[in-house]
Symmetry: D2
Subunit: 362 residues, 4 copies
């Protein structure tokens, strides 16, 4: 049941990492939203690896086909099916891992749950699965932007291992992020992060860190009071990403070290009598509903599980072995590539709640 996301802007993704194709179907996108393959392609290009020495050399040069739901560059109000064919299937690369439960991968749990696993590479648990989400997010973004032209989502690498960037979330631009090979807009931190990544890579090891996401020019009234609090749905969205370990909204964990009088966001009126808060510890969401201030959250990602070092593990025949993967193309640090995934999920959450918001009151 867990392959769809959203209730009104409902996205289902499909496809195994080494299967014929991956993709998504979107049900609930209104008609007359402008969609072209290039809009989706731009999103897919941001996601694809192999862009530098800091990410995997695996070539996921994906191109998309829109199978339905769009004609003459606009949506019809019908389901939008998008297909991304796997061009680069190399199951042979993974032959050595087919029979072992790789530590901290999904091999073991998938096997015990389903009694069968997809051929090499992780199936639906592979990061490859996210290509369908990213395609859907391109549609979500177009829909959202046609409703709220000024809304923008900017994600960036906030920390890798112990190197913390200093970034002003009110000012950071997408361009600053994309100019960085590792998507960290703090140039000083970037240098240190790159060194860390290359050092880890040299040792066959991997690093984790944190992605920060800011959403600016948000309309008020997104989210609902109880189970579908906006931050609850962001949390679910982010923890559904491979390798994610934590979610913090607004002041997050740091906020739990403040007192109430330090943490409360006092309201004030600007010259045009618009309401704002002096601080934004709430991260743009109060009582589960957006208050018009920037939404800010952070997502932690663990160091990638695929390392090129000897580890103890178990085979499918339940025998203990030593295991060192010899092949496979993987990231030493997933953070740069996690940035567009965080953005993608954020667009999906926004699209859902913008659709819901239209029906709040008469």
């Amino acid at each position: 049941m867990g392959n769809y996301f959203g209730k009104l802007f409902k996205v289902i993704t499909f496809g195994e990492s080494h299967g014929v194709a991956l993709g998504c179907v979107i049900d609930g996108c209104p008609s007359k939203v402008k969609i072209t393959p290039s809009i989706i392609q731009e999103f897919l290009n941001k996601r694809k690896p192999g862009q530098s020495q800091f990410t995997t050399s695996r070539d996921e040069n994906d191109t998309c086909e829109i199978l339905s739901g769009v004609e003459n560059g606009i949506t019809l109000g019908t389901p939008i099916a998008i297909l991304i064919k796997n061009k680069n299937q190399k199951p042979a690369d993974y032959d050595d891992i087919n029979n072992v439960f790789r530590p901290s991968h999904a091999d073991y749990t998938t096997f015990v749950k389903y009694g069968v696993t997809a051929k090499s590479g992780g199936g639906r648990s592979s990061a490859r699965e996210t290509v369908g989400r990213v395609a859907a997010a391109a549609v979500a973004k177009s829909f959202v932007k046609q409703n709220f032209a000024n809304i923008e989502i900017i994600s960036f690498v906030d920390r890798i291992y112990n190197i913390q960037a200093q970034v002003d979330t009110n000012k950071v631009t997408e361009q600053e992020v994309e100019e960085s090979l590792i998507r960290c807009p703090d140039k000083q931190a970037e240098v240190l992060m790159k060194e860390k990544i290359l050092a880890a890579k040299a040792e066959g090891d991997t690093l984790g860190g944190v992605v920060c996401c800011v959403i600016r020019n948000v309309p008020t009234g997104l989210g609902e009071p109880v189970f579908d609090k906006l931050e609850a749905n962001f949390a679910k969205a982010m923890l559904s990403l491979p390798a994610s370990k934590s979610f913090e909204i607004g002041s997050g964990l740091a906020g739990t070290y403040l007192t109430g009088s330090e943490h409360n966001d006092e309201f004030y009126l600007d010259a045009e009598k618009n309401i704002h808060t002096k601080t934004n510890h709430s991260g743009g969401i109060q009582g589960g509903i957006s208050n018009g201030m920037p939404i800010v959250f952070k997502v932690g990602f663990k160091p990638v599980s695929t390392i090129f070092k000897k580890q103890n593990t178990i085979t499918k025949q339940m025998e203990e072995i030593n295991f060192t993967p010899q092949t496979g193309r993987h990231d030493s640090c997933v953070l740069p590539r996690a940035v567009p995934l965080v953005e993608a999920m954020a667009w999906l959450v926004l699209a859902e709640h913008i659709l819901r918001r239209q029906k709040n009151h008469l």
Copy 2:
């Protein structure tokens, strides 16, 4: 739409904090689950405030009525409606706050979203709303325990402000937690935490912190590979609690400071050839699916927004004022009372995924 939780074990809660009654309806609980009012009452009692000087003096001495779905102490397979009447409605207590948007409360966002708000006290955004969840969780717990008798969920206060407890999640018992007035099983930390709470209370201020939750004797195979990863649903559940700010699974944020070779959980076989991991940085979940190791997660809560200090804010007439609440009964630190709420949501997530698990393969 956001007032129900779960797809198979579906819970809807209703009720405003100062309305006639609150409660829940559960659709999807199988028949023949043992339920008595006392099972639910025990859960409600854990939740109720007014238990010590460390929590609000508000008397929420709730009693439940089972309206449907249960006869002769067992469920019928029909919807279970549970009612908790509001005995202690004192809207007058809140008269001074009816016209202001209290800082960091849901007053403003609720008003802009719905154009109307419930009478004093926060309506559905009040912590009072959680009484319905707790009642539902009692049913969920009974269902889960009848399927997996040894499963146990233990939550405790892990940190208040900057006082960090040291607790062994493999050994901590519910009794140790409940023996502590503030639900911190580390007796040394408990002393310091109490001092901090009383000091904050004396100043009309509030404190935040972290609740840790461990689930032991978990069956393998709970959770699904993509959007309904088990940790994603825990994250959503926890971020739907009032005042929650963060969620961490397993090693959490600390894990993002490790390398992959440090972080990976190697598999091994015990004497009975059962599979385990040497470490548990994964927090009992790999690829979104439980692996049989203890599930461990942490939830951060901000300092409560209701402080008894002067603050700047805005009225519903959009005028700036100074505001100091004179009355109302509130917690100086929500952490002790958050413990049973975290547990309640965890039971709901487990019940959902245990129902789903029954259909994994032929």
Copy 3:
């Protein structure tokens, strides 16, 4: 899972026929809809039996309590819980039937499905369950009417046994229907129907028939092209009513005896250049979407299963017996009382699709 109806205007009902209470919770009703107990009571009064010799003498003089979601006569946008207490529990009346599977009742199937049944009377399969739907429908109606003031739903008895009424669906009024004790606005047919009912009653037997429902002043654009065709959702709604056996939209079965050239509804423009169809065999719905013409459908109901004649059946101990119910208060003909149920379900379907319709295109 099957106790809720709708996706956006989501209604869950609860309560066993002889339990403490029945009711509903509505999630998704926008704020600022006018609701008073009297609006709901009016609907409940239409539903209640005991109104004449033509219906059961059981006293279901239901009164409702609004527990949540409404303040000062308007909805808050939060869940609306409505409670109807069972005043008239007489399980003793049904003692003789507790141990047998009554022919054509739900006793047997409920028992094999759940392994347990509610105490006497049918539990959730009793017509009593519909009281929650009717209460929810009153809210749905208020919501719909505030959006489309002229919309009206009129249901009436179209046939009882073999007595067919002649009614012009374009002209029939609610008043004409309600003036008839058996809700048949054709006064000639009404006389014959009453005779048939009394004759059946005298023999301890029961009669079936057909309810017709017309919805006038319908906005265009309700319904969706594939699985949620408007008629599909009406069909589901109506077949979910106790004792219903058939559903026909527009020309219905009679239309299957026409040729395409006879059946097609030609379009024309009126003086104001508004589009209409010359005939309305489509019943106001084309391709699953309302076209602005009156929606007309018919629902068949079987003769009630509770008869006061000797029948062969089986006990819970799987022994064959002869069985004649001695007590219990039941309708000889359910049709008059089915009229408000058909209306109630129709309002729920309309509310759902009016909410959905708001998001069709940008």
Copy 4:
């Protein structure tokens, strides 16, 4: 929202009649179900038109590609995406109809709802859309048959225009149905039906009728007491088919002419002490739940709207015109081709409820 069907065995279909491709994605099919392209192809072949002079000459010689969810002939428990490319796109055939609202088609309602329509041919309202359902149904059938090997669904043409077949639903075989070019197993009626169809075709006119469906060897306990009564979900499924006008369960409309004493199905025990009913007016469903007797229902289909006769209608520019379609390939009688569609939807309903049934009681 209306493009998916089912909650546990969830199917979403996509594709416009003249777009690149159509298909479906299934979420919720358990792992280890045997699926090969030939299983799906067999179902597609039953559906395809152009099989005789009695159906459209349009060549829909569809072949399917399984894109995901299946490896080595078994399902993985992941989403199953199936693609059917449109080989035979001839939008030119429909040029003359692009600008008119064809009477009793979905052209007008789609246009007013979405403000845009798919290029010629009906888009999602075309019968072409059903190809995705049929592909999904092949998977559903495999799943169901692996759980209940003896279950069988047989649909057949019960009536065309005024020619009523006489068929014993307890005995009719799939072979008897498939041996008939028009899928009517009553050979005498078949002759008359063929004559009627050819006569209508000669006049450019069309005919409607009724499909009957019987499901034998049904397990008890499918369906739920209130909104998801098994017959309610069958009704929704069938009324979601293009051109369907009516649904009857068991005795259906004929049953409404019986008295309760005639209609009630008395229970008895067979030699092995298994429970049965003497008659089956209930159509195998009581209180919304299957009782183990054959499920029997009938679906009425109107005469196809595409006729080759002059009709009055309106253009998109809101001008009245005379309109006679010159081209396009259409059925004179949709009934023979409706048979596999009824079957397909029935398999989807069964798969859904078999999955749900596994969780009835502990």
